[in-house]
Amino acid sequence: MSYQKFFNPEESYSRSELEALQLERLQATVKHCMNSPFYKERFRKAGLTPSDIRTLDDLKKIPFTTKQDLRDTYPFGIASVPLSQCARLHSSSGTTGNPTVILHTKKDLEEWANAVARCLWMVGCRPEDIFQNASGYGMFTGGLGFQYGAEKLGMLTVPAGAGNTLRQIKFFTDFGTTVVHAIPSYASRLYEVMCEKGIDPRRDTKLRTLVIGAEPHSEDTRKRIEEMLGVKAYNSFGMSEMCGPGVAFECPEQNGMHIWEDYYIVEIVDPDTLEPVPDGEVGELVLTTLKREAMPLLRYRTRDLTRILPGECPCGRHHIRLDRMKGRSDDMIILKGVNIFPIQIETILMQFQELASDYLITLETLEDNDAMTVDVEMKDQYIDDYGKLQSLTREITRQLRDEILITPRVRLVPKNSLPKSEGKAVRVVDTRKKY
């Protein structure tokens, strides 16, 4: 069957077409935001009115919106429509204060499903495919977000949910699943269990495409997953504040994620000065929603660190590409004055064949000094070789020191011994004294 290349016409818009659409939608969004008590007050304080936004550049006049704003207005204070017009609510866990609440109208849900469907279509998903969503449902937007997107595209969609690995694998073989959405650490787990059960993913399943997101991961991790499962793995980016998945997604080039600029305006700013960074440099991603009804967000500071990839993408889409997330401006580890991102450590660890996929970075105070311990799970077959274990520990330590300029304590631990929460691996534990 032959299909069109693009799911939506906006996908192939030129830069000037995109920017014209953005300005039109920005102006409409700002006007609509005046129905929100929060934004009405914000604009009044800043001495701004919607008519001040005449060009895309005028966006910079608008103050940033932060996660703290969402917490302070908990639960419904930012909404721009009455609750009676809302059809769904998603909420984050509130580990550090009030949770954040995101509201959706029916139209918002339709647009969200469309954006996810567009992403999946871009990487070759078609109605003939069978899509298995091995992601948590409920409040976690990766569940319902992909569910509605995959259904919108027309795939047979299996809401398998997170965990229950044996059942996931049975579904693969019984239903002929071709596309799976899972977080990267779970993809490795699926492979391990398949091996234990004597199932060869290439021979015994029809898996072809894997959608991975929600956990930062290195290019080596992606390649490893692709190699293990015999699939193409595409990076997905989203966050509940912007709906969930479907914000940005890799095209078949697998070189950066196109962010849908008919839905969002992208800025990259220095997290300290909040000034735009020069083109192509890493900074904090700031997003403005362009089509949201229930809860538009203006210049929302995502805390995600990334950069815009320069140049045109050979795929023919002019929507800019975000580089793989470099971490978050708030998960950056500062140890002995050195800035470290967990992804740097992961990148080193994944180069060792002897290691399994999970690791845990622990930061603690030892005799008033910051110390880092890296616990890393290893594969069973190397257990009997004590000399190997010792030299492995030494070599990991050496490479980590070269990368992060601090000597961590490296501990090899048995497979599956590190803590996991809801299938999502816990990567950093910080027990240091806070001053």
Binding site: M378, D380, I383, D384, D385, L412, K415, S417
Partner: protein
Amino acid sequence: MTVHQLSVFLENKSGALVSVLRLLKQENIQLIATTIADTIDYGIFRIICSQPEKAYDVLREAGVAVSLCDVFAIELDDRPGKAADAIELFAGEGINVAYMYSFLLNGKGVLIFRTDNTEKAAEIIASNDLNVIREKDLSRLL
């Protein structure tokens, strides 16, 4: 000409050893010889036991990090100098012993070891007519 040995990777925390032993007990598996190599962070618990394959499955299913490997077991007269004579044969050929432990069984000494060159070690054992214990011999001795 080898016997099966289980190598268990133990985290250095209380209860790690006993939980492994408990699993073996539940399956009525009998220990013949064991040794623990310990470091600050972990231990390697090596076990020669009855029904090693079954033991391996039991531990794996329980989520224990375990590998099953083959090691040499040779039987020596229980007299001074016998171990030295035996290891001399390997040393003379430049073969290193990675680890070794021993136990007494029915008045004979049994030397368990792993070398860095299994094939050559096997040749030396054969050409010197050393008294090798095989997996099936072990179960008969119990």
